[in-house]
């Protein structure tokens, strides 16, 4: 390859890397020409969703009917002008940090057991969300605390991107509203429980009409399916056709799903189109709907109603900072940057100009991983970052393994071109089957694993795939960049074999 061709290819590649690196890492607080109102968030700041390690958690407290906080209790009891002061004193008894209705304490053990069982069902429902981490704790035996990652990007966490922040909080709020729904499935003719009447006979269990629920997605459009049993299909059709017009509202307990989460209604007077009810929606909605339907259909019904009395009326979402501190994500970025710089410096010291080829591969690897994590919406946690670095180690290790083999071949007296050819030939089998093993292993992890494990599996899948592709690209760029160089031994930092005849 000629000097010009080599220079053009190298320049194009370096320019592409630089441009992508700029977009990936540099945020611009005020975009020129936007009167200071538009902010550009880089890929790593505005595109990558971070786990609770970096952007904290959102939690909600669930109080069953008859349980109030000490703050709510004393707010009334300490107020001498409050009309219901005496009523509170007579009604509630202190238990841990809460006050519990005396009626509930008549069978205190059963009440506490029912809360514990509810917490287990809620935990099971949340486990299907695929969160990288979440927790459900029973507080003092009388309340439930559920915590989930905020899934903020760094820009959303720092309130640079309030639209995304609010989107994520809305998703969490919807999920928490859904997973705490108590009671069985029902079908009524109105959105208000008190004024509507049940369309299903008191002897029938509406939940038994269904086989199960699932969600799916194609090209960014999501949907959820509810499968009816044969008998359920006939019975539901009968119910719908027994009325002339109007809407049938699906309920869980006393909550209409259409008012809680905008769940679609069924049309009265019209027959069902098939045994599968399919609705298209956003990903989060489809997931939430399929989780709650599957859970209730399987008979996992919460016994108590939560945040549903006069005192606790809403489920307040509280966002808390990461226990690693506000700067955790920045420090992670610094650590990763140091690792990349160290890997580049080491390869340049050991392999001279050939080390620069490896440096290019490291940068391409880093950028492709950042872009993939962003595009695939993978939530990044500390374990995920380690997995990405493991992929980087694999790439460097593979390249160094080849470089060393080539070095040995040059020491055996071969030319660099011959050594490269032989080096790649000798290492191909090992490198190829190691990568096949790792790609398969990571694919299994991403498909079988759940939450953080699945995310890490996906990251390592991309990482090991990139490592193998870059193994070949290294050879190409080695050829391109070293073509105009006269001393190819010096290019790779290889020692030329001494010619015995010269002595």
């Amino acid at each position: 390859m000629g000097k010009i061709k080599s220079a053009i290819i190298t320049a194009l590649l370096v320019a592409a890397i630089l441009v992508l690196a700029l977009f990936a890492t540099i945020s611009i607080p005020e975009l020129p020409g936007s009167n200071g109102v538009v902010r550009y968030n880089s890929f790593i700041s505005g595109g990558i969703h971070l786990g609770s390690d970096f952007t904290g958690e959102a939690y909600a407290m669930l109080y069953p009917e008859g349980v109030i906080t000490s703050a709510d209790y004393y707010l009334v009891v300490n107020d001498d002008e409050a009309e219901n002061k005496q009523e509170y004193i007579d009604k509630y008894t202190s238990r841990g940090g809460y006050f519990v209705d005396n009626e509930k304490l008549e069978d205190e053990k059963a009440f506490k057991e029912s809360i514990l069982k509810d917490a287990e069902i809620i935990s099971d429902r949340l486990s299907q969300k695929g969160y990288s981490s979440y927790s459900v704790t029973v507080v003092d035996g009388y309340a439930i605390k559920m915590s989930v990652p905020t899934n903020f990007t760094y820009a959303a966490y720092k309130s640079y991107d309030n639209v995304k922040r609010s989107e994520e909080l809305t998703k969490i709020s919807t999920t928490m509203t859904v997973v705490k729904l108590s009671g069985k499935l029902g079908l009524r003719d109105g959105a208000d429980f008190k004024t509507s009447k049940s369309l299903v006979s008191i002897n029938d269990d509406f939940g038994s009409f269904f086989k199960g629920a699932s969600m799916g997605g194609v090209a960014g459009t999501y949907f959820f399916n509810i499968d009816l049993t044969d008998e359920g299909y006939e019975s539901l059709n009968e119910i719908l056709l027994s009325q002339d017009s109007g809407n049938a509202y699906i309920y869980i307990g006393e909550t209409s799903l259409s008012s809680a989460i905008n769940f679609p209604t069924l049309s009265l007077g019209s027959p069902l189109s098939g045994k599968i009810l399919q609705y298209s929606s956003s990903e989060n909605f489809a997931q939430d709907a399929s989780i709650i339907f599957s859970s209730v259909i399987a008979g996992n019904v919460l016994t108590n109603k939560y945040n549903n009395d006069d005192v606790n009326t809403t489920t307040q979402i509280v966002t808390v900072n990461s226990v690693f501190g506000d700067m955790a994500a920045v420090y992670l970025a610094v650590a990763v940057l140091l690792v990349i710089v160290a890997a580049i410096v080491c390869s340049v010291i050991k392999y001279k100009l050939l080390g620069l080829v490896n440096a290019l591969m490291i940068l391409i690897y880093a950028l492709s991983l950042i872009t993939s994590i962003m595009l695939l919406n993978i939530q990044l946690t500390i374990a995920g970052a380690f997995t990405a670095i493991l992929g980087l180690a694999l790439l460097c290790f593979t390249n160094f393994y080849v470089f060393e083999t080539v070095r040995r071949e040059t020491q055996a007296g071969r030319t660099v071109q011959a050594s490269v050819k032989l080096g790649y030939k000798k290492t191909l089998a090992g490198v190829l089957d190691l990568h096949i093993l790792l790609v398969l292993a990571s694919l299994i992890l991403s498909l079988v694993g759940v939450g953080e494990l699945a995310a890490c599996g996906l990251i390592f899948f991309i990482g090991s795939l990139a490592s193998y592709i870059l193994y070949w690209f290294t050879r190409f760029m080695w050829y391109v960049i070293s073509s105009p160089v006269k001393d190819k031994f010096k290019f790779g930092g290889f020692a030329r074999e001494e010619d015995d005849d010269e002595d």
């Binding site: 703050a71 707010l75 841990g96 507080v139 003092d140 035996g141 226990v323 690693f324 090992g430 079988v448």
Partner: protein
């Protein structure tokens, strides 16, 4: 004269070190299981803990710092200290949660709560007639939730191990399968023992690091077996014993093995150092990062020292080490 380290001669030492470590880990873990309620020190989403939660309203307290200072003063007066705290805000105020270990006496926490409420009432009296901010002590009992996460994770881990074993069995025959099995069992045993001994808080990330350990072991084992096969082929005329070939291969791989695991361990240490600077709580920083450190130390030790030392003893009895070379390759040689 340059002396070469012979891994196989130190087999007994490595085997004793590993066995002792695993034994101590299992014993200590079992003792901890019955005394302090856990083989591991379950952290994060699996831990039970006590809290003091302070809900405050902006009408009484302008900022979180004011409430925090007030609480810290009471903690100091009562001689208690929290191991972590989180804070969050709502539209009308905020909530600070101070976490204490389960061992912290609840009666003591109630005393602290009374102290905080008295101080809050004094401050609140200046701004509102009825005190709206309030502190309470709570006992949080964690559910070992996410059984599905654990189950699916375990299935994934087992599948990856099975895949690695099948790969080694196909590529390196019976001796490959045996060494892969031994390497996995050894490294995972060491990780479990170290986690039980060091009481590093175990979170859901452990599954991820468990898989990373298997992957790192697979890489180390494959490269070593590859090297043994190549050395056995290249030195077939010298009639080297399996121990000599294994030692030679281990020495050749020593640098790269150490580099690979040290690279990852150094990253864990680097993250640990950086996170320590930013962390709000000292206990939180040591969970995932230290787990990573434990994993890479175990894998580094296992792949670099233990496996090469034990390998010849697994294979030399019937000379299987030589069988790593395919008959066709022998012929070509």
């Amino acid at each position: 004269m340059k002396t070469e380290f012979r891994f196989s001669e130190k087999m007994r030492i490595f085997a004793i070190v590993s066995a002792c470590l695993i034994f101590i880990g299992l014993i200590l873990g079992t003792v901890f299981h019955f005394t302090i309620g856990g083989f591991f020190n379950y952290g994060g989403e699996y831990s039970s803990y006590n809290t003091i939660t302070v809900s405050y309203k902006y009408v009484e307290f302008g900022s979180e710092e004011e409430v925090d200072k007030l609480c810290k003063d009471v903690f100091a007066e009562n001689g208690v200290s929290s191991y972590a705290y989180t804070s969050g805000t709502t539209n009308v105020g905020g909530e600070i949660e101070y976490r204490f270990t389960c061992d912290t006496a609840f009666s003591k926490l109630n005393g602290v709560v009374d102290g905080i409420n008295t101080k809050i009432a004094t401050v609140a009296a200046e701004t509102s007639s009825v005190n709206q901010s309030y502190a309470a002590a709570h006992e949080h009992k964690a559910l070992l939730g996410g059984e599905r996460v654990l189950m699916m994770g375990s299935i994934a881990l087992a599948t990856v191990v099975a895949l690695q074993l099948i790969y080694c069995a196909i590529r390196f025959k019976l001796s490959g399968l045996m060494i892969a099995l031994l390497a996995d069992a050894h490294n995972i045993g060491i990780i479990v023992a170290l986690l039980a001994i060091t009481r590093v808080p175990v979170t859901s990330s452990l599954l991820v690091f468990g898989v990373i350990a298997v992957i790192a072991t697979a890489i180390g084992t494959t490269l070593m077996l590859d090297r043994i096969r190549r050395n056995a082929k290249d030195n077939s005329e010298k009639k080297l014993s399996p121990s000599e070939i294994s030692d030679m291969s281990a020495r050749q791989n020593f640098k790269s093995n150490i580099c690979f695991n040290a690279f990852l361990a150094i990253i864990a240490a680097l993250l640990f150092a950086l996170m320590s600077i930013s962390s709000l709580s000292p206990i939180a920083i040591i969970s995932p990062v230290l787990t990573a450190l434990v994993v890479f130390i175990a894998c580094g030790y296992g792949s670099t020292f233990f496996v090469p030392a034990v390998y010849p003893y697994l294979t030399q009895a019937d000379g299987k080490i030589i069988k790593l070379i395919k008959p066709s390759q022998k012929k070509a040689k």
